[in-house]
C-alpha cells in the first residue's frame, strides 16, 4: 500500500468505513440492547428492560442515521459498487430492511402505545426479535461481500453466464461463512450493549447481570470468529489465507490484545476500560475485514478506483463532508452529554 496510491477515492472509502464503524459502535449497541431485551431473565427482568429502553430511547434515531450516511456516501462516491450490491444482495438487504422497520416502529409503539401489559409485551417481542434479525443479516451481507461470492455472482450475471436464481441471488449469502459472520455481528452488538449497559446503571445487581451477559457475548464472539475462520479454511481458503496472512497478522494480533483486555476488564469490573477495549476490539474486527479486502469494494473485481464517481462529485462530496462534520460532531456530543447515563 504505497502512500501516493491514496487519493480522494481512498479517503472517501475510509470515511465510509468510519461511518460504518460509528454505526456499529452506536446503532449496533442499540440492536444489542434489543437482544438483551429478548433474553431478559430472572427477577430483575423488568429492570433490565427498563434500563435498555432508557438507554436506547433518546439516541437510537441519531445512531441509525450513520447507516443512512453509509448508504448515501456509497452510492454517491461508488455508484457502481452500490448498484452491484443492490442486485445480488437484494434478498438479504430486503430482509434486513424489514428488521430495521420493525425494530424502530415497534420500539416507539411500545414507548407511546397503550400501557396495558399485553400490548407492551407484544411490541416488546417484535422489537426484540427484529433486534436479532437485523444484525444477523448485516453480518451475512458483509460476509458474502468478503468471500467475493457476491461480486462473483454479479460478474457472472454481467457476462450472462450461469444466471440461475439460486446461484445469483441466494447462494452468495446463504452459505456457512456469511452465516458465521452474521452470528459474529450479533454477538459483537450484544457484547457492546452489555458493556455499555453495565456502565449506565448504579444498581449493583443489574450491573452484575450485564457483566455475566458481556462475558457470555465475548465467548460467543470467540466461537463465531474462530468458527468462521475454520469454515473459511474449508470453503473459502483465499479469505482465511488473507485473514491470517502477513498483511493482516499484526492487525489480528492487535485485535486479540483488545479482546483479551476487554474480557479481563469486564471480569474485574473495570467498566470504563472495558468500554474502550470493547469498542476498540469491535472496530479492529471491522477494519481487519477492510484491510483484507483492500483495494476492492466488491471483490473479486470491483476496486475503489474502478467504481469511484467522477472527480467533480468526489471533490464536492469531500467538501460537504467536512462542512457537515463541523455541524454534526458538536451536535452529537451535545446529545450524548445530555443523556450520558440513566443515573440521576
Amino acid at each position: 500500500m504505497r502512500l501516493d496510491a491514496l487519493g480522494l477515492p481512498e479517503i472517501l472509502a475510509a470515511i465510509i468505513v468510519l461511518s460504518l464503524n460509528a454505526y456499529v459502535l452506536t446503532g449496533g449497541a442499540d440492536f444489542g440492547g434489543g437482544v438483551w431485551d429478548l433474553l431478559a431473565r430472572g427477577e430483575r427482568r423488568a429492570a433490565q428492560r427498563a434500563l435498555i429502553a432508557s438507554q436506547i430511547g433518546p439516541i437510537w434515531e441519531a445512531n441509525h442515521v450513520w447507516l443512512i450516511l453509509v448508504v448515501v456516501l456509497l452510492f454517491t462516491a461508488f455508484p457502481a459498487a452500490f448498484a452491484t450490491l443492490g442486485i445480488v444482495l437484494h434478498v438479504p438487504l430486503s430482509l434486513m430492511l424489514i428488521g430495521i422497520v420493525l425494530r424502530g416502529s415497534s420500539f416507539v409503539f411500545r414507548s407511546y402505545g397503550a400501557r396495558d401489559d399485553a400490548t407492551q409485551q407484544r411490541w416488546g417481542r417484535v422489537f426484540a426479535m427484529a433486534s436479532v434479525l437485523t444484525p444477523l443479516l448485516l453480518g451475512i451481507v458483509v460476509g458474502s461481500i468478503a468471500t467475493g461470492d457476491a461480486g462473483a455472482a454479479a460478474d457472472r450475471l454481467a457476462a450472462a453466464r450461469d444466471v440461475s436464481y439460486t446461484s445469483t441471488y441466494l447462494a452468495p449469502w446463504l452459505a456457512p461463512f456469511p452465516l458465521a459472520m452474521g452470528v459474529l455481528a450479533l454477538a459483537m452488538f450484544a457484547f457492546l450493549a452489555a458493556v455499555y449497559l453495565a456502565l449506565a446503571t448504579d444498581d449493583v445487581a443489574l450491573r452484575e447481570d450485564f457483566r455475566r451477559r458481556a462475558v457470555g457475548a465475548e465467548v460467543a464472539m470467540f466461537v463465531a470468529a474462530f468458527g468462521g475462520l475454520a469454515i473459511a479454511e474449508m470453503t473459502a481458503p483465499h479469505v482465511s489465507g488473507a485473514l491470517i496472512g502477513s498483511r493482516a497478522l499484526a492487525f489480528q494480533t492487535l485485535t486479540a490484545v483488545a479482546a483479551i483486555t476487554a474480557l479481563w476488564a469486564v471480569w474485574t469490573r473495570r467498566w470504563r476500560t472495558a468500554r474502550i477495549a470493547a469498542a476498540l476490539q469491535v472496530s479492529l474486527i471491522l477494519w481487519g475485514w477492510v484491510l483484507v479486502q483492500y483495494p476492492f469494494v466488491v471483490p473479486p473485481t470491483l476496486t475503489i478506483r474502478d467504481t469511484a464517481a467522477p472527480r467533480a462529485t468526489l471533490e464536492l462530496l469531500m467538501a460537504a463532508l467536512v462542512g457537515g462534520a463541523l455541524i454534526l460532531f458538536p451536535a452529537l456530543a451535545y446529545l450524548y452529554r445530555t443523556f450520558a447515563s440513566a443515573k440521576h
Binding site: H64, V72, A83, G86, R103, A309
Partner: protein, 435 residues
C-alpha cells in the same frame, strides 16, 4: 405482473407511505414548537399540554418516517441499480446533504422528546426549532433529486450512454427545482396544518375541552391555512415549468391528445387511449393555453405528438391531477373562509359550520399530496430520467420482484393500521384528559 411493474409498484407504495410521514415530520414539529413558545410566553397550561401532545405524535410519526426513509435509500439500489449506477454521482450530492439534515433532525428530536427535564427552557425550544428547520431542509434536498429526474441537467451523454462531465451543483439547480421544492414545502404545511386543524375542529364539535382545542385549532390554522391558500399559486408556477420542460406530462395531466393553439382546459373526464380522446370532460375554451402559457392562443403539444411508447398512462395521470386540484382548491377555500372569519374577529371555535367544514377537509391535504406525487411520477413515465433513461432500463435484473413488492405492501399496510390506531388513541386521550 411484470417485474418492472412490480418494482414500480413497490417504489410507489414505499414513497406513498413515506411521504405522509415526511410531511408530518416537517410540519408537526413546527406546531409543537409554536405551542411550547406560547406556553413559555403566556404560562398557560393548555399550551404546555398541547406541546406535549404534539410531541408524542411527532415521536411516533417521525420514527416511522425515519425507518421508511431508510427503506427508500436502500430501494434505490435494490430496485433501480441501473439508475443509481449512472445518476448516483449527480444526485448523490443532495442526498448527502439530506443525510446531514436528517442527522440534525434525529439528534435534536432526541433532545426535545427526552430532554424536557434535562435541558434549559431556551435550549429545549431551540432543539425544537432545529428539528422543524432540518425537517424542512431534508425535504428541500430530496425534492431537488426528483426535480432533476424531471428536468435533468449538469452532464453530457457519451456515445455509450454514460453521464460524463458531471456537475452536481448544476444538477441541484435544475429548471424544476425551485417550483417543486416550494410546492412540496407548502404541501407539507398545508396538509399537516389543515389535518391537525380538522382533528381539533372535530373534537370541538364533539364538545371536548374548548380551553385546549381552541388554542390547538388556532396554531394549526396559523400554519396550515396560509400554506393552503398559497398552494394553488405555487401549483400554477409548477404547471408552467411542466408545460415548458415536460410537454408530454402536461398533455397527460390535461388529457390533451391533439396539438393545438388555444387549447381548452378540461375539468373531469376520462382519457380514452383507444379512441385517443378525453370524453365527458367539461371544457373551458382557451383555458389550458391561458393557464400553462398565460396566452389564450399559445400552442399546447398533444399526446399524439410522441409515439405511444413514449406516453405515460394517461388516465391515471389525468384523474390524479384532477383529484389533486379539486382537493387542493377545497382546502384553499376553507382556509380562506377561516381566515376571513378570524379577520372579522369571530371566535372560530364556536362557528359550527366552519368547524364542520374543517373536519371534512382535514384529510384532503394528504390525499392531494398522494395524487400530486402520482402526477409527477407516473406523468414522467416511461422515463426515470426525463428523455434520458427509461425506467425499464433502470430496473434490477432480479426476477420474482412481485415477492418483495407483496412483502413490503403487507408490512406497510400493517404498520399503517397500527399508526392510525395509535394516533387515534392519542387523540382520544386528549379529549378524555382535558374535557
Amino acid at each position: 405482473m411484470t417485474d418492472l411493474f412490480a418494482a414500480r409498484s413497490q417504489m410507489a407504495m414505499s414513497l406513498g407511505f413515506h411521504i405522509v410521514f415526511a410531511e408530518i415530520g416537517i410540519a408537526l414539529p413546527l406546531l409543537m414548537v409554536l405551542a411550547e413558545w406560547r406556553w413559555r410566553r403566556t404560562g398557560e397550561r393548555a399550551y404546555y399540554d398541547l406541546a406535549r401532545r404534539w410531541a408524542k405524535g411527532t415521536a411516533v410519526l417521525f420514527a416511522v418516517g425515519a425507518v421508511s426513509g431508510t427503506v427508500l435509500s436502500f430501494e434505490l439500489g435494490l430496485l433501480w441499480p441501473g439508475f443509481m449506477r449512472h445518476a448516483g454521482p449527480l444526485i448523490g450530492m443532495p442526498f448527502s446533504l439530506e443525510g446531514f439534515a436528517f442527522f440534525l433532525e434525529a439528534i435534536f428530536i432526541g433532545v426535545y422528546l427526552y430532554g424536557w427535564e434535562r435541558v434549559g427552557p431556551r435550549a429545549h425550544l431551540a432543539a425544537g426549532v432545529v428539528v422543524a428547520a432540518s425537517g424542512a431542509a431534508s425535504a428541500v434536498f430530496v425534492v431537488l433529486v426528483n426535480a432533476w429526474m424531471n428536468t435533468p441537467v449538469g452532464f453530457t451523454l457519451d456515445a455509450a450512454g454514460n453521464f460524463v462531465n458531471v456537475d452536481p451543483v448544476t444538477a441541484m439547480r435544475s429548471p424544476a427545482a425551485f417550483q417543486q421544492v416550494l410546492h412540496m414545502l407548502l404541501a407539507s404545511y398545508a396538509a399537516t396544518g389543515m389535518a391537525v386543524a380538522g382533528v381539533h375542529a372535530w373534537m370541538l364539535l364533539r364538545g371536548a375541552s374548548r380551553e385546549f382545542h381552541r388554542r390547538a385549532l388556532t396554531i394549526a390554522l396559523c400554519v396550515g391555512a396560509p400554506a393552503a391558500v398559497l398552494q394553488p399559486l405555487s401549483g400554477d408556477l409548477s404547471a408552467r415549468v411542466v408545460a415548458e420542460t415536460q410537454p408530454v406530462k402536461l398533455a397527460a395531466l390535461e388529457g390533451e391528445w391533439l396539438t393545438m393553439r388555444g387549447a381548452p382546459l378540461r375539468i373531469g373526464g376520462w382519457p380514452d387511449a383507444s379512441r385517443q380522446e378525453t370524453r365527458w370532460a367539461l371544457e373551458i375554451p382557451y383555458g389550458l393555453s391561458l393557464l400553462a402559457f398565460h396566452d389564450p392562443h399559445a400552442q399546447v403539444r398533444g399526446l399524439l405528438s410522441v409515439p405511444p411508447e413514449d406516453r405515460p398512462p394517461v388516465a391515471v395521470v389525468h384523474v390524479a391531477f384532477q383529484t389533486m386540484v379539486a382537493l387542493g382548491s377545497a382546502l384553499a377555500l376553507v382556509a380562506l373562509w377561516a381566515g376571513w372569519a378570524a379577520w372579522r374577529g369571530r371566535d372560530l371555535s364556536t362557528d359550527r359550520r366552519l368547524l364542520r367544514a374543517l373536519a371534512i377537509v382535514g384529510p384532503f391535504g394528504f390525499v392531494a399530496t398522494e395524487a400530486g406525487w402520482v402526477v409527477t411520477e407516473v406523468g414522467r413515465q416511461p422515463w426515470v430520467v426525463q428523455g434520458i433513461m427509461r425506467t425499464a432500463d433502470a430496473v434490477t435484473p432480479m426476477p420474482g420482484l412481485v415477492v418483495p413488492m407483496a412483502t413490503f405492501t403487507i408490512l406497510y399496510v400493517g404498520l399503517g393500521a397500527v399508526v392510525v390506531a395509535l394516533v387515534t388513541s392519542l387523540v382520544r386521550e386528549t379529549s378524555g384528559a382535558r374535557a
